[in-house]
Every structure is written in C-alpha cells, then in structure tokens.
Amino acid sequence: MIRRLHRRHGPSRRQLAGFTVFAVLGLAAAACSSSPAASGGSSGGHVTISVDCAPPASSPVQHKEWLADVAIFEKQNPNITVNSVFENPCEVPASFTAMLRAGSEPNLFYTYFTDRNQVLDAGQAADITSYVNTKTVPTLKDIEPTALAAVTAGKTLYGLPTVNYTQGLVINRALFKQAGLNPDQPPTTWAQVEADAKAITKLGQGIYGYGDYSAGNNGGWHFSSEIDAEGGHMTNAAGSAAAFNSDQGKAILQALHQMRFVDHSMSPTQQLAWGTLQKQMAANKLGMYIAAPDDIYNVIVPQDGGHINDYGMGPIPSTSGTPAGSLSGGNDYMFAKHDTPAQIEAGIKWMNFEYLTPGTGQFNFVRQKADGFPVGFPEPQLFTGATLAKYQKLQDASATVNPDFYSTFANAHELAMGEPADAQAVYKTLDPVMLSVLTNPNANITQLLATATTQVNQILANSG
C-alpha cells in the first residue's frame, strides 16, 4: 500500500533513471543528426567554405604554407572564411564512397579525375558552369583541355583541376652510377630496362633493378599506363569492351615476368601498392619504377627522406623506345551539391588563388625554394599558352632541380592518354593479373588476360 501511494505521488527513482536514459538517448540522437548545409553557408554577406585535403600538422612545412595561404586569402576577401579539413591522404576510397552516400562532403572536395562518374552517379556535384569564366578564373582558356575534360560531363562543369600529369620512368641516378650505367640516358625500351635492371640487381645488398605495383588498384593502373605506351588500349573506343588482351598487353606482362623470374631483377616481395616503391627508391634499394614526377617532389624527397640529386626521369618504356602515349591523370576539386551560390563563388575565388594562378598558392615558387622544397620539375602540366610561359618563367627563376636529370622525359613530349572507362574498376580487375605474373613462376599470361577480359566486359556492361 505504501508503495502504491508512493507511486501516486510521483515517479520512483528507477522510473526517473529510466526516463533519464531515454531522454539522454533522444538528445544524443537529435545531436547526431545534422545537415551538411548547417556547417557553412552565408549570413549578412559573409561566406564560410569548407575545403578538404589541407596538409595536416604531420607535414609541418606544407601545413604552415597552407595556413599562410588561407590567411592571405581571407585578408584579400574579408567576407570569406576558409574552414580547412586537414587530411592525408586526401582521398581514402572507403570513406570517400561513404561520404558521397551520406552527402556530407565539404563545400570543395578533392577527387581524382577517375572519380567523376562516381560523384555524378551519387548526385553530389554542383553545376558550376555559369560561375566559371575568364573573369572569375583568368587562366581558364590556358588550362589543359584534357584536365578540364576530366571535370566536365557533356557541357556541364563540375570542378576545377589542380594537377595534371603523364607518367615516365623514375630512375635512381645513384644506383645507375654504382652499376656503371649512364644516368643521363635512362632506358627507353623494355629490353634496355631489363638489361639495366639486371646490372643494378648485381649490386646486391637487397637492391633490385625494377619495381612495379600489383595491389590497391595500382597494378592495373600501371598496366594501363604501360599498354598506352605500347600503342595498345585498355578498352575499345566506345568504352564498352576490354581491349587489353592483345600482343601489346602480352609483351608487357612477359617483360615483367622475365625480370621477376628469369633475371631475378625484381624483388620476391610483391603485392605492393602505392607508397611502397617510393620508400624503396628513397632508401636506394630500387633502380627504376614508373611514376609521375610528383612522386619525387611530394613523396620520395620530403616524406621518405631521399636526396633530390639521386633521382631523374626518362620517358615511359615501350618496345620501340618511343612511347605512343602515356596515361595522364590528375586531381581536382569538385563543388558539393549542397553548396549555396555564394559558397560556389567563394570556392572559385579560393581555387583561383590557391591552384590556378602562377605565383600564388601551389605555384609560389619563391616560398617553396625558401622552405627547402625542390623546384623545377616538369609538372604539373596544367597550363598551355601564355599562362604556361609565365609559369615556366617563375619556376625557372627559383629552380633548384637540375633540368638535365629530367630532360629525356620532358623532351619525349608524351602524348597524354585519358583513363579508361570505369577506370578504377578496370584497374582493380587487372591487379590480380599483375600479381600473378609477379608471384607465379608458371603464370599463364594468355589465360590471365582472357579471364580479366571477361570480368572487365561484365563490369563495363553493368556500369551502363
């Protein structure tokens, strides 16, 4: 009776505790739900934009330069605040895909050229066509057409490019000298690569002449690059069927298999993804591998501790010695679907300042030299015409890199080839082919290419 009376007077402690738990959970659930638009926007003429791929504090000099650029930009544009999202690497496929699914991208988000279809399929890119013109982006007419095409669908522009590259053969000049080879004449044919790789491997002490990827979609990516150099193709012109099961494809895989199992000039450790060969190169344990020049100035020297004068580049190898083309690629920033018009305008101003104007932001060569970064690489190949001339002049004035080390690469004027349809899916399917060729002494190249062809055809058929 006492208990019942007590209950009539109010909730018991247990009830209170139960309701408290409920209320706390309810509040927590409410707090968890926020719309992406709530994080930015404009009020009273002031605009806030969030931008990812800002260098984190773990890369102190790049971090300092970024913060300095933000400060300069905000001073020039007092109505704009840049909220930096610090991260490295700039894109991790799993979280990138999840971000697109949730629609929680920053106002300006970093993508690879190969991501365009995925972003558009997710419906997460804003149409910026009407905002971009020669007034808002003065260098617009001089931006490499292939780079602009990578962020365009039909006639609609969804982003602005920041880096554009073709690949070549990165060589370790120090090991070339030790092996009695001429580092000023990097090999251009696969036969020369094989011979030089053998000579370098003879140095012993865990040094190998040549390296290549076979994991993380990077194996297929390199295979694609190598087949472009041979004049072959990954897919047909319509992008509807695989075309790599060809003499060119077989020749490349045969050359790799030869180096791995006959010459033993490639390491038994395979299944390597991006980041591993750079470390081997920086530690002077690797003679050659295929890459774009930014591997040297962004990774091997500043991150992995390599010495700038130990590296050089030649054109991408081919059977003839004159590459028919080289896989081009690059990165860009796309604008999120939830951006307001004011945020798009502010974002374009930021892109123009940080990425698309020689002399400022990523092209502030005077500051790069003062901060000890190597200057003078033949990349990024972002401009043509008058802007390229201005860019070249500024770069030459601060150059710290010996251009002779890269002359054969630069003089090859490799024809930039676009990436295949559904590039990442195609690359992923070719990873096992590369891995098998580099780990299985009895790999059946014809069979491997036939299986991969079936798989790629299915991917292309399903991607619609």
Binding site: P93, P268, T439, N462
Partner: protein, 323 residues
C-alpha cells in the same frame, strides 16, 4: 487515471471495462521503469542494427544513377551471381572456416587443457596466451605481414638458416585446397584470437569437479581417456556455443586477408573472402562501385549465416530435449 474516473462518474464506461482499464494502467505503472530502461536498448538496436539491416535489404533491390535512385528488381543479385569471383569467394570463405575450425578451435582447447594441468606459473602463462588478444588486430597483422615477407621476413630467414626451401607465404600463387596463402592467413588469425577462446575453455574446465578425474584415475584412465570421457562431455555446452560463434565469425573473415594481402584478394584471388568481395563492390571499384551490389551480397551472406545458425540451434536443442 483522472480521465478514467471522470468517464466512470459520467456512466460512459461499464464497470467491467473500467476494471480492465484499471488493470492495464496498473500494469503500465508497474512496468514503467522497465520500459524506460528497455527503450534505450531498443532505440540503440533500432538505429544501429535493425535499421541498417532493413536498409541493406531495400538497397539490394535498388540502383542509383546520376543521383536518381530507382528500383532494380533482381538485377543486383543477378550481377553478383554472375560475377566469376562470387563462387571463388565462397570457396575461400569455406576453406578459411574449415581451416580456422581445425586449427583455431582445437588449439585453444588443447592449450586450455595444458594450462589447467600445470601446477606452476599458471597466471604467467595465462597472461602470455591472452597477450595477442590485447594487441590491436591491425598491429598484429602488420607484424605477421612482416614475418611473411618473402624477401626480408622472419619466417623465411629462419628457413634459410635451417637450409630449407623458402616460401612465398601469403603471396603464394596456389589455389588448391588448402592453399599456402590461406594457411598463412589462418595461422595469423589463430595466433591473434586464440587467447579469448582459451580463457573460456579454461573457465569451463575449472568447473569440472575434481572428483570425476580422481575416480577416473582410480579406474586406471590415462590422459586421453579422461579428456574423452570427462573433459569433453563436461564442457560440451561451452564447446557447442563456441563452435557456433566461431563459424559465424570465421565466415565473416575480412581484416586478416585485407591487411596481409594488401587488399584482400591474394594471388589468383586465393584469399578473397565474401566480406572482401562486399568491400570491393562497395568501396574499391570507385566509378563502378555501388552499395547496391554490395548490399545484395550482404543479404545473401546474412541469409546463409541465419539459416546455418537456426539449423545449428535447432539441432543442438533437439538433442538436449531428447536426453
């Protein structure tokens, strides 16, 4: 309550209905705190388990193109069933499960029996056995990735010192049953996880009355007969439950192969598991990746595991009932 009283006074409720209402109100009052506590758990499950499961089923019948989501019928299921790697992934998953059961189920049981028999350094050895569980899985697997490295790895170094042929370990190209690559994954997985199972077995062993062993010894039973006739029957319930949990866990193998093989597929896809394939559909294929096919495969895996778990529980319950 006030409303009930008002309605009763107005004669709109019959005495019988009024008593039923009273009983209901009393019932609600009596269980209010229980419901209060329960609702938290229900909300958590609803948000983090039931909603994602329902969403996964819905997604598996949809497709998204150019930001527009539409119904796709069975297209996603058609796609996964016609993927050449689909059956490879199931074969590998079954291979891992069987190997993990042979090694990962028996080894902790034997280690637990040994620990139980020891008279000295028991606590120290228990700590030693449990230590790998405390290591973050990624760190443990990266450690094994180094051990398995064909050029610089510890295992090949040992083999070289013993003048034995070296192995490619996880990078082996064989696809036979069992493959060296999968055995390597199982060894690492067992090392990582056996501590937890060992402690559970040990707790079960320590609950077996000592008199049973004493009586068996008087009857002249050796170690193996004691294990067969006392230890196994006495720990049958724990063994049975751990078997179910282990099979469900091993069928969802992901992180082991993913880290050891730098992506999960291995040479000739010889370590590609079903969950790895789900990951590839959802995340690794970029332009062609889609959550829809990943969801379809997730639903298939869920159905297989649910059917297996249901059948297993039904069979074991049935056996208990007949005893």
């Amino acid at each position: 309550m006030a409303e009930l009283a008002t309605l009763r006074q107005a004669g709109t409720l019959s005495p019988a209905r009024s008593r039923a209402g009273d009983r209901l109100a009393a019932k609600v009052r009596r269980n209010a705190s229980a419901h209060g506590f329960l609702i938290g758990a229900v909300l958590c499950f609803a948000f983090f388990s039931w909603y994602p499961i329902c969403r996964e089923i819905v997604l598996s019948f949809q497709k998204t193109q150019l930001g527009v989501t539409s119904w796709a019928g069975w297209a996603n299921y058609h796609r996964i069933f016609h993927d050449p790697t689909f059956w490879t992934a199931w074969k590998n998953t079954a291979e891992f499960t069987v190997l993990a059961l042979i090694v990962g189920y028996a080894v902790p049981f034997l280690v637990a029996i040994l620990l139980n028999e020891l008279r000295h350094a028991k606590g120290y050895l228990r700590c030693l056995v449990y230590l790998p569980v405390m290591l973050p899985p990624t760190s443990a697997l990266l450690l094994f990735a180094y051990f398995y490295d064909p050029t610089y790895g510890l295992f090949n170094d040992i083999l070289r010192h013993l003048h034995l042929p070296v192995s490619q370990w996880v990078q082996s190209s064989g696809t036979g049953l069992p493959s060296m690559a999968m055995i390597s994954v199982v060894i690492a997985a067992t090392w990582m996880n056996m501590g937890g199972a060992t402690l559970i077995y040990l707790a079960a062993l320590q609950n077996i009355p000592g008199e049973l062993y004493e009586a068996a010894e008087l009857d002249g039973a050796g170690l193996l007969r004691k294990i067969r006739h006392i230890t196994i029957p006495q720990t049958r319930l724990i063994l049975s439950m751990l078997l179910l949990l282990q099979i469900v866990a091993t069928m969802q193998m992901f992180v082991e192969a993913f880290i050891l093989t730098n992506g999960g597929a291995g040479v000739n896809n010889n370590t590609l598991s079903v969950v790895n394939l789900i990951y590839q559909y959802a995340f690794a294929l970029s332009g062609a990746s889609n959550y829809n096919s990943a969801s379809a495969l997730g639903v298939v895996l869920m159905l297989v595991l649910a059917t297996f778990s249901g059948a297993y529980l039904w069979l074991t319950r049935d056996r208990e009932a007949t005893r």
